[in-house]
């Protein structure tokens, strides 16, 4: 999370959130376009991807504010549901 | 530049810089791959796009710190050279 004493941790986090968000959106478009994923599976994948991104942002922010338990907890209560949603969506998409 | 009273201007700026950076990298890869752009033209476009992104980041930050002249100046002395570099690179690639 080094920012070369130029960028703050939050700035670095939001930059990579931007990168990850665009990559996620592109992944979803690819799923719909190339894999002909159904709309219900797309909805699950979108919700899952967004939840995972939110979990990562929360966990890194929690570490930056020196609250490591909040980071662990966010992995449990946000990341895990996100993974479940994404997995369900993925399975639904690939089943077709 | 609204952050819904949740995100600060700087957070919003860095988020969109991340989006723009990935899009730029993908664009450059596409130009090399699909358009068979030469390495010199890619170098010019890479330098140009990096300069443009830097100019945008500087200008938005200057507005956030309430120094509008710094924003205008950065567009002149950073964005403009960035545009020139990118245009030159693009012309070279498309030639």
């Amino acid at each position: 999370m080094s920012g070369l004493a130029i960028f703050t941790g939050i700035e670095v986090l939001f930059f990579w959130m931007g990168v990850a968000t665009l990559a996620t959106v592109q992944g979803l478009i690819w799923m719909r376009w190339k894999k002909k994923a159904s709309w219900p599976s797309m909805a699950l994948l979108t919700a899952g991807g967004a939840t995972i991104l939110f979990a990562i942002a929360w966990a890194v922010s929690a570490i930056l504010e020196k609250e490591p338990q909040a980071a662990s907890m966010s992995m449990l209560v946000i990341l895990l549901p996100g993974l479940i949603l994404t997995t369900l969506g993925g399975r639904l998409a690939w089943k077709q | 530049m609204s952050g819904l009273a949740i995100f600060t201007g700087i957070e919003v700026l860095f988020f969109w810089l991340g989006v723009a950076s990935l899009a730029t990298v993908q664009g450059l890869i596409w130009i090399r791959w699909k358009k068979q752009a030469s390495w010199p033209s890619l170098a010019l476009m890479t330098a140009g796009m990096a300069t443009i992104l830097f100019a945008v980041a500087w200008a938005v930050s200057a507005v956030l710190e309430k120094e509008p002249q710094a924003a205008s100046m950065s567009l002149l002395v950073i964005l403009l050279p960035g545009l020139i570099l990118t245009t030159l690179g693009g012309r070279l690639a498309w030639k």
Partner: protein, 418 residues
């Protein structure tokens, strides 16, 4: 900066013959004191400071006035500026032993003074406590009597002048805690005006708060202290020794993070540490100041010299100007001209602080430039300084600046909008 930037550099008359930094590259940590002293150097007397010399002539330290037709000088701005002095003025009115710049005795709580586990723990805890009490920056260094005034003036009787050792009889300081409190960027940008005065004076009140609380911390630990607000010691040399920055063209401290936007104080204590970890640092300020004349150019009283290099003044050079010290290699500032302008303008001026390219709010692009400046050579510094002006930073006498300070847009006072 690309093609246009290069063209701008050429247009600004950048010389390629400017010398490289002499102290090293990047941020350099020094074992020795990085400012040269001549054998002629001797301790300065507080009696000779411009403020006390003028006070003896009946000239006040400040001369603020109201002019509701001038932005920066309105009644509200006058009141804000004056109110900013509240805490430190109050703390000068207390009895000796309670007031600023007197010896404070240990509290009778512990059977003997507290011993920290080791010097590293002491450094870490003292600095954290100072931050807890509001210090923006803090450094710790050995007491060095060269940086104490030789004589001290009683602020309640300016004709009562006694040697430092007599005034502080019974106290043998060992350690100096140097603290700095930042001034507000938007307010300082309005210099010279009562708005910029307000942030200067408010920083003094902030320093008073921090100093008095930190002093009391040491008193509870069983140590004596002197909270030295603006007298007793020369704060800048102590700040340099404590690694808080370099001396600049204005003769002030240039801090890495806050630049010129910092006010300083010292706390004397008789706690002695086995080791002192804070060392002087330089990060290219002398080189930058050699190539940038903004403060000298913008100074309305021509107090700040335009000499390229810092120089030594001898006792001969300061003849007739006893308010100037000699024997220190630095840019020589004429404090009398400065204070004359304070009185004439009805402000404490501050244009040099506001115009300095290192005076910036805490944003990534300024941190980037600050870092680049530590490694770039002189000619580029000249270019950087020129670009700073072209970008509109460092304006002084800017009648729009108070409006930026007061503008309610983008500010949330009830917490509902962040």
């Amino acid at each position: 900066m690309g093609v246009a930037g290069t063209a701008a550099a050429l247009a600004s008359g950048v010389s390629t013959s400017a010398q490289a930094r002499e102290d090293g590259f990047g941020t350099v940590v020094h074992d020795d004191y990085p400012v040269e002293l001549s054998p002629e150097y001797k301790r300065f007397s507080e009696y000779n400071t411009t403020i006390f010399r003028d006070a003896r002539k009946g000239i006040p330290d400040m001369n603020p006035s109201i002019d509701d037709s001038r932005p920066g000088f309105t009644t509200s701005e006058f009141a804000m500026s004056m109110a900013s002095t509240t805490l430190y003025k109050y703390m000068y009115t207390q009895e000796p032993g309670l007031r600023l710049e007197t010896v404070h005795q240990p509290h009778d709580v512990l059977p003997e003074p507290h011993k920290f586990a080791d010097s590293a723990t002491a450094h870490a805890q003292i600095k954290r406590v100072a931050r807890h009490f509001g210090a923006s920056v803090v450094g710790i260094t050995r007491h060095d009597e060269r940086w104490d005034y030789s004589e001290l003036v009683d602020p309640h009787d300016i004709h009562d002048v006694r040697p430092w050792e007599e005034r502080m009889a019974g106290f043998k300081p060992k350690t100096m805690i140097v603290i700095g409190v930042e001034m507000e960027y938007e307010a300082l940008a309005a210099a010279p005006s009562l708005v910029s005065d307000a942030t200067v004076l408010n920083a003094y009140s902030g320093l008073t708060y921090t100093l008095m609380h930190l002093s009391n911390y040491f008193n509870y630990l069983g140590y004596k202290t002197i909270p030295a607000m603006s007298g007793v010691s020369l704060h800048i040399p102590y700040a340099i020794a404590a690694g808080l920055g370099e001396i600049n063209r204005m003769g002030l401290l240039q801090n890495y993070k806050y630049g010129t936007r910092l006010r300083l104080s010292t706390l004397y204590t008789d706690l002695e540490l086995d080791e002192y970890y804070d060392k002087p640092v330089t990060f290219g300020i002398q080189d930058f100041c050699e190539n940038c004349m903004h403060c000298a150019d913008k100074c309305p009283s021509k107090t700040i010299p335009r000499d390229i290099k810092p120089t030594f003044y001898t006792s001969e050079d300061t003849k007739g100007r006893p308010y100037m010290s000699y024997g220190i290699k630095k840019w020589q500032i004429d404090g009398q001209k400065c204070h004359d302008y304070w009185i004439e303008s009805g402000t404490t001026c501050g244009t040099c602080l506001a115009t300095c390219p290192y005076n910036k709010p805490d944003f990534w692009h300024h941190r980037l430039i600050d870092r680049l400046n530590t490694i770039l050579p002189g000619p580029i510094h000249k270019f950087m300084a020129q670009m700073d002006l072209w970008h509109g930073y460092g304006d002084t006498f800017d009648e729009k600046a108070p409006a930026v300070f007061w503008d309610p847009k983008g500010r949330s006072y009830n917490g509902l909008k962040g």
